[in-house]
Amino acid sequence: MKSSRRCVVLLTLAAVSTSCGAERTWTGASVTVRAELPAVLTTRSGWVLEPRRAVLHLEALRLSEAHVALAWWRTALLGVANAHPGHGDDGAAVGELIAPMVFDLTSAQSLTWGNATTLTGDVHSLNVALAAPGVELEGVATRGAERVEFAQQFLPSSALPVPFEAQVGPAGGALTLSLDVAHLVSRLDFTTNERAAEGLARGVVDSAVWRVEWVGGAP
């Protein structure tokens, strides 16, 4: 399944490289992920979190020519079949890394995800695809005298679009994805289980959770 999907994407990439003339060539980008974890995790509603387990199940990364649009009607107007809702400008995938990896958000370490195959040229966004079960959080939340044992998980229905501007040169480069764990959990409110679940879901899809750095390779 994965190999056939990869084949389709690479065929799409190849079509882009052909249609765009000889200027675009294949290159590579090393991809690193890291978690930014503060000493104390406090949510907007005043809960202090002590996570026993905080895991991100990464599946794939795609670089895209598409801009991240603000609203769905742009997608509807353009009729872009493969666009994520809220990810609506016309544009093709120009790079990808498919490498399932379990990333421990409490480790506060940088981890090499892999090497993305990519075309040279402009990149305006990237998509992070998660594998089931997506994001898992377990631990204890306290607020004053209140204490809640929690176990939440959320898998977004489609890849997460993140605005990202870079110009990929022939020498490729290095991409670092930093995940702001405090931002990811900031909406969690354990007043009810439903609010906590909603808070995690909204945090996972918030593109501000991600900070992307690109360092071009030496020509």
Binding site: A71, W73, G86, D189, V205, D206
Partner: protein, 246 residues
Amino acid sequence: MRSLGWVGLWLSLSACGPGVLRITAWGEDFIEQGIPSEVFVDGFDVAYSKFELTLSEVTVRSSRTGVVLSQTGATRIDLVRAGPHEVTRLAGTQGSFDDVSYVIAGPVQVEGSLGAGARRKRFAWSFAVETAYTGCLQPTLGPSVVLSAGREETVELTVHGDHLWYDDLVSPDASLRGSVIFAADADGDDAITEAELRAVELTSVPTGQYGPGAVGNVFTLWDFLSTQVRTVGHFRGEGDCLARPR
């Protein structure tokens, strides 16, 4: 015979002279007349008394010739007044321009009332946002505007006042909804304020409503409206542009 020659000369000069793109802005009936309850999912309606914004950096480019025509200065307009309103006039030689862009700068001031039946609450919001609209595209006409020698063509930048009330940025099933914003009036003084909207976390509204998708840092109803207000800019009626914060 001589007079015919003069007419011919005048006609040829007219045909070869510069043309003008008259750029206008219009808020349509939804801003000028109000948004009726029939289009809201929960029976609410909206009447605007002010919908004021600044249009600037109106630019048309030709990717073929590289010619660029740009607005100088900025034009502030209250779209509640009957329009269309002239924003700027761009003069140039004949050609087709396939890249239209503009900026809506703040503050975007939106005032009016929201209600259902006899129950009404006022709002007077000021959004300090600046949004660039690029790559404008009209479903029927495409991206291009044509400047004809010696002629004046009108290009409308349309502002959709109903978009502020959509209850989702992500879902194509989004609906116009008034009840959640109406209920944000915590002190019951019949005025829905920025502070009251900031106090409503989106995790507290019914699940599935007010989804901002990938847009970052949208935590409260005020954050949501501040994002929605960036999506009001359109192109020639139902045409759309790529909206990006500046």
